[in-house]
């Protein structure tokens, strides 16, 4: 009963000054709109940029690092067992780059229920011969279909048919930058020299565009068997096994498990790409800060309007108190006013924010670096809408708090005596 009465009085006061009310509500609407649009856009961009790297990066990479043996012979000697042994300048022995028993490892990984897919890879550093000059580069030997399925390889190949690599023997996909350097077109043959000074001709079938120029200047791709042929290695020669998981968060734990199980080196994506998380985090933080700043400004607008209303309605408040309304009732009346401005403005803000995101989603965004992206990316995450609406309520509550308290403390004796 009492609450309904309070709401009714609040409503009448609001409607009596509906222009100011509208201005205050528009302030909230504007800030929530910008908040939603900004975060959706920023998050969409973050996902795109992260995807640029994360899509093509294995969650776990299994490889064999060339490094000195940590078990040096001196540790096997009895007389030195209980002492500290310092050995300096230890060099790696004749360890191999390839993964031991790679076939069996791949077989086990494919059976693991946590693993979405496995793609073997060979890394071969080579020289591309361009007349008298040698250009250093890397040829990755890849399983084309696995690479396309797991790491979106096809999306970065201009012309979009990476399977040519499999179908044409001794073929290569050159990075765009590298192709420009070599002045090689499709169908041309490029000469490749391995580090063991063996020459090999390869036919260019496609160009590769990763979006990262530096990579495109050195990277190129060939099928696994072609690379094995170039290097003169047997068909079980694999230097890397890339694993993609269902749950990326399990990567660090699984990486350790596999390192033990397969006696190989492993690296998880979180460790390898820590800087990307930091970048995304900072960008998100900035968007939140801007959004909150806008809301605070809107909050001051509400604060001002309520303050004005209280000065204007001093007499009304005094008589309400004289006829039996307590300070708490008056406080509630003004809190109701503040919160309804926040609620209404916030809801309109969510709506306009969504519409604004839709508009951003239509703006063309064509860049050579990202062949598959046509418009600006937008992330329609409901979490932003939830945060936006709670923020609008909290800000208006805080903005209404001080004026409402002031109104509740108005002394009717002083106000009425002054007339």
């Amino acid at each position: 009963m009492n609450l309904r009465l309070i709401v009714r009085i609040a409503k009448s006061l609001l409607l009596a000054r509906w222009k100011q009310t509208l201005v205050a509500a528009i302030g909230v609407t504007f800030s929530i709109t910008m908040f939603i649009a900004l975060l959706s856009f920023m998050s969409g961009l973050n996902n795109l940029l992260d995807g640029l790297m994360l899509n093509r990066t294995a969650h776990i990479r299994i490889f064999n690092e060339v490094k000195p043996n940590i078990y040096q012979p001196v540790r096997m000697l009895h007389e030195f067992r209980d002492s500290y042994n310092f050995i300096r300048s230890v060099k790696a022995g004749s360890s191999r780059q390839e993964i031991y028993n790679s076939g069996a490892i791949i077989h086990v990984l494919k059976k693991d229920f946590r693993v979405r897919g496995v793609a073997p890879k060979i890394t071969a550093p080579v020289f591309f011969n361009d007349g008298a000059i040698d250009i250093t580069g890397i040829i990755y030997g890849i399983d084309v279909s696995a690479e396309s399925n797991l790491f979106h390889f096809g999306e970065y190949v201009a012309g979009c048919n990476p399977l040519d690599l499999k179908n044409v023997s001794n073929s290569i996909i050159l990075g765009e930058g590298l192709a420009t350097k070599l002045m090689a077109g499709i169908g041309d043959v490029v000469q490749v020299t391995t580090i063991t000074q063996e020459q090999f001709p390869l036919k260019v079938v496609r160009f590769f565009q990763s979006g990262v120029q530096e990579l495109d200047k050195v990277q190129s791709f060939a099928s696994i068997s072609t690379v094995q042929k170039i290097l003169g290695k047997p068909s079980d020669y694999i230097t890397d096994i890339q694993v993609k998981l269902y749950d990326i968060d399990q990567a660090p734990a699984l990486a350790k498990e596999y390192a033990n199980l397969f006696q190989a080196d492993t690296e998880d994506i979180q460790t390898a790409n820590a800087q990307f998380e930091t970048g995304s985090f900072v960008r998100t933080l900035i968007s939140y800060l801007v959004g909150i700043t806008l809301l605070i400004v809107a909050g001051f607008g509400i604060y001002n309007i309520l303050n004005m209303m209280i000065y204007e309605k001093m007499d009304s408040i005094a008589i309400l108190k004289a006829t039996g309304f307590s300070g708490r009732d008056v406080n509630r009346i003004f809190m109701t006013i503040a919160l309804s401005i926040g609620l209404f403005g916030g809801l309109m803000g969510l709506l306009f924010g969504f519409l604004f995101s839709l508009v951003i989603d239509q703006i063309p965004f064509i860049t050579a670096a990202l062949p598959t992206v046509k418009t600006y990316p937008v992330d329609y995450n409901p979490v932003f809408y939830f945060i936006g609406s709670s923020f609008s309520i909290v800000t208006t509550y805080l903005a209404g708090w001080a004026p409402a308290r002031k109104a509740s403390r108005i002394d009717p004796v002083i106000t009425i005596r002054g007339k």
């Binding site: 009448s12 006829t323 309304f325 007339k419």
Partner: protein, 170 residues
């Protein structure tokens, strides 16, 4: 309303000292009616709603019944036709009569008036005085009126003359 006084104050044999703000608000709502020199009606509401507000605040009766009571007060003061008008459409005398109706809605133990006719012309003063007289004689309502109007004072049942805060003739 004012808590700055000496001695003890009792209303309906209830001691006012030591009551908190909420309790005092309830006492004002239930036991006391105030009529001021200025009408203090809320412009956002109609005359009827202005009268109903203290009744709704008390919350003893459902809204329909409070409305009924309010209309009875309007009838008693002979201002039924003003009920649906907004308070800023009323004249000074009409406003003061609506303010009196507002006072009556919760059947207060005492009505306190501060210069109730101070802002009114002779004719309206007379109307207000007659209302007060009618309330006192027919409905046995206690009224405490502060006024500078000696004509008004002469016609009351008991007059206490004060000067500079002292009672000079009880």
């Amino acid at each position: 309303m004012d808590t700055d006084y000496e001695g003890d104050l009792t209303i309906d044999s209830e001691i006012m000292r030591g009551k908190n703000e909420n309790q005092l608000a309830l006492v004002r709502n239930k036991k006391i009616g105030f009529v001021f020199q200025f009408h203090y009606l809320l412009n956002e509401f109609t005359a009827l709603e202005n009268v109903m507000l203290p009744g709704l605040k008390l919350g003893l009766f459902p809204e329909a019944e409070v409305k009924q009571h309010a209309l009875e007060q309007f009838k008693k003061l002979d201002i039924e036709k003003l009920a649906d008008k907004r308070s800023n459409q009323l004249s000074g005398g009409e406003k003061q009569r609506v303010a009196i109706a507002r006072v009556l809605i919760n059947n207060p133990a005492i009505i306190m008036c501060d210069e109730p006719t101070g802002n009114l012309d002779k004719k309206n003063s007379l109307i207000v005085f007659n209302i007060f007289k009618q309330l006192a004689e027919e409905h046995h309502q206690t009224l405490l009126v502060v006024t500078h109007d000696e004509d008004f004072a002469k016609k009351t049942h008991r007059t206490i003359v004060m000067e500079d805060g002292r009672i000079i003739r009880p």
